[in-house]
């Protein structure tokens, strides 16, 4: 199945990771945001065919959260960055 190229640990089987959901939209800043904004952030997701930015955590490795770009149609991974360094493109 998926091989995720962890920036710290190298290419690892996806079973070492946990999935963390959509990484495409920013979390409202702490203490800000209306109910509607939080509602959309928590409950409303796109389901794109193609590139999807998503969080994965290397729970059985370096414990780092990654932002991975995965093609939902082919499961091809085009990019994996540390979440704290992730740039939006």
């Amino acid at each position: 199945m998926l091989i995720i190229p962890c920036p710290h640990c190298g290419a690892r089987d996806y079973t070492e990771f946990r999935y963390g959901g959509d990484a495409s939209r920013p979390r409202p800043a702490h203490g800000t945001g209306t109910v509607n904004e939080w509602h959309d952030y928590v409950f409303v997701f796109d389901n794109p065919k193609g590139i999807h930015r998503e969080y994965w955590q290397h729970v059985q490795g370096c414990r780092q959260w990654l932002v991975v770009e995965r093609n939902t149609a082919t499961n091809e991974l085009s990019r994996a960055q540390l979440a704290r360094e992730a740039t939006r493109t």
């Binding site: 199945m1 998926l2 091989i3 946990r18 963390g20 990484a23 920013p26 979390r27 702490h30 203490g31 945001g33 209306t34 109910v35 904004e37 939080w38 509602h39 952030y41 928590v42 409950f43 969080y55 955590q57 729970v59 414990r63 780092q64 959260w65 082919t74 499961n75 540390l82 979440a83 704290r84």
Partner: protein, 987 residues
Amino acid sequence: MSGASHRLPTGGRVQRGETIEFEFEGRRLAGLRGDTLASALLANGVTLVGRSFKYHRPRGFLAAGVEEPNALMTLGNGARTTPNVQATVTELRSGLIARCQNAWPSVNFDLKAVLGGFAPLLGAGFYYKTFMGPRRGSWMFYEPFIRRAAGLGRAQHKSDPDRYETRHAHADVLVIGAGPAGLAAAAAAASGGAHVVLVEQDFVPGGSLLGTPATSAHEKWRLKLVAAAQAQPTLELLLRTTALGVYDGNMVALLERHDHASCDASRGEAREVVVTLRTRSIIYATGALEQPLLFGDNDRPGVMLASAARTYLNRYAVAAGRRAVVATNNDSAWHTALDLAAAGIPVTLLDQRTTADAALREGAAKAGINIHWQARPLRALGGKAVTGVLAALESGGREQRFDCDLLCMSGGWMPAAHLTTHTGRKLIHSVGIDAFMPAGLDAGHFMAGAVSGHFALSAALIEAVTAGAAAAAWAGRPAASLPPTHLPVPDQACGFEPAGAPPLRAGSKAFVDFQNDVTLNDLIAAHDEGYESVEHLKRYTTLGMGTDQGKTSNINAIRQMNLLRSTSAAETTTFRPPYVPVSVGALVGRAIGRHFRPIRRSPLHDWHVANGGVLIEAGPWLRAWYYRWAGNSAAEAYRQEMRVVRTAVGVADVSSLGKIDIQGPDAAEFLNRIYVNGFAALAPGKARYGVMLNDDASVLDDGTTACLAPHRYFMTTTTAQAGEVMSWLEFLLQTAWTDLAVQVVSVTDQWVGMSLAGPKARVALELALPGIDCSDASVPYMSVRELEYEGMPLRLLRLSFSGELAYELYVPADHGVALWERLLARAAPLGIKPYGLEALASLRIEKGHVAGLELDHRNTLDDLGLGKMASRDKPYIGRELRGRPELQAPERWSLVGLECLEAAQRLRGGAILFADGEPQVGHGRGYITSVTWSTELDKYIALGLYQGGLKHVGETVNCAYPLKNESVRARLVSPLFIDKEGARLRV
């Protein structure tokens, strides 16, 4: 022992010097090394080997390989019984025990065969129409009988004594199938040093070449191909290994079978191994599967695929009959006719076409084969064995009967392209072969030979060498030298004409799916009722849904449905892994029993075991449930343990609590954000109970966090949510709050935790740790002290889960046993005892503390009566969505206490709550989450959720437990059952 009546005196690839004895239906028989169970049975003249699934019709061998739909047998006995094994792929081994299935009392005399007489009632959709009608209850009544009558072999319930393994492997190039194409492709791919894994499901490499005469040029070529492959130092040939499925990321699941070697589990030998192979590129050389012709009673024993008859003849030296008819719509079956004739078997050839390959025609004439052109079988004759065939000659101009005991048929070939579709690719219809082939492949995937529709050996060889070179290059290890692509043997003729619609005779059945008993009439019925699409057809008739997954039926069904619909729009159903049936044991491997999942143990585990602790699984943890000092059953012991805590002092192992070390200048701000209550002002030396929410405002977890020093905190979480909370904190710090200077580290395994609780807890502590000031002034309620005692780092927290005066002590894991034993020894005069998880959980119910059963990620802070904890002065996670009107609705199910009102009854977790007097139907007004016997109140008490919650305190409810047909009356009360003022905590 009967002689091998049908074994030819010479020829074949069996070892005549090595006789192997086996048992079939209680009879002792003998075969040869190199036989399959099927070839050995045929050699002994056994042609009736099973009864069909639905109609209990007598069945024989249709095939000689993995596509066999009929010859499913139960192998072994006792705990080693394995049902539904294909005799055609079972390598004969000494002592093998085989039985037929789905027949009673015997395969030769099957009482259920009378079902065949009712066949018109049992057509497609029979189950649905009969049993899913207006009176659905009748299905419940009939189902067990139907399942018993229509079925495959039975599994047994004993534990499997064999050993199974899983392993991981890597390759540059995986070649699937060691026929001529696979062998040539693998040799080419490995020539530049690529690590090539070549897998072959058979126990002999060679594929279709194994069907050629053992003295032929083809056999010499096969040996040469095998030798060339084996000469490659980086090529690994795995026989008896089937590729089950192809997954994303070039992961392929392989099944290795070791059955032939009588594996000894006690020596660690595995019967089957599932291999997870990661490869850079894949070459599919999976060949093709011959398809049956459709005509009346084409399922009679003795009717078989032409290539199968040829394989039995040439590979196993077994004459499947003494007088043969070969019916075909293509050239390939002519080879069978020629080889049968060469073995001295009289052959009649019925070819629906007007001509065939010139060399074949010439050979057939020379061999004295009786050839009829434009001839098709109408109906097979005979019952338990075929006795002849009624054929339409001269395009139906006249009919003639031919006697035979072997009727070979060939309806063309279907590329075995199943694996190429597992990653989501479709097959396309190829007009030339009237079958499906891959439309394209994933990047790094290649194919060679019959799977790509190239049935001619010459084309397959060229394609194989090209694919081998391409796959090696893709893997980054280009081929160095390529094998010759000139075919050194006569080529295979591939003339073919679609069979078209069969001329059907009333009163006979033409089987499309042999395993699931789907006939041409069922297809017509499905078409008449509108189930035309292949997906509907499949579900309506069960076509292709047997263990063979329609390897000999899908393509014929699609061809016939297209004829019925007058269309050429062709689609297949989805082929899914596994390609062949695989035992559950092999998939599970060693993950059984204690290896099912990792077990977490406390550093005090051995002490518990050695001192009467009875263990229980709590998530991944094995925890002390209760101790034998208190009783011989949990029900007895936990009450005794509760009494000790309430009246004297007890100590419990709480090492499984999640422990998180939090440090950094922004740690206080961080805690203040994640907990609903304030943590910004928590001073060093103080501890605080906190609750954290998910973003959606459901409660995530609760626990205590202590401030050890400025910027340094020690958090505890519940056992159940420890991993979740840790990941959550890491998520926040690494994604949204990267500006906070905070580090979090799990120290769950580094610290042993013990809870010392009871009115005499302080005295116990003073006895165990003399010199430490444990007074209320020095260690007040909700405080923490970080100490070192005789070289042992010690964190002493004053907090209580039980409601009694209590402490939590944390020491590094290595010191755990020493401190635990010291507490028990020094405080022995006080009557101190260890108490287990059951008492721990019961004490908290009396005190009304919520725990895992209440914290189910569905309840809000307010549902659990904790709303007042939330700060009004600061933001916290979940605050925004907590305000949603639905979550503030007054009639939400919220936390209540319950007291049992019936002395002779008990409350049960999961019981559904109904208001007094209302009918006990539906989901009720709530349910019980946690139950215990209260030693303080002398009755059963419980926590639960109830519509409207505490507004209803004092009312009587009925606690319904339909599983035991119980309904028990209880009173709604405050969840705080004891010490409402908290006086016991602050002494």
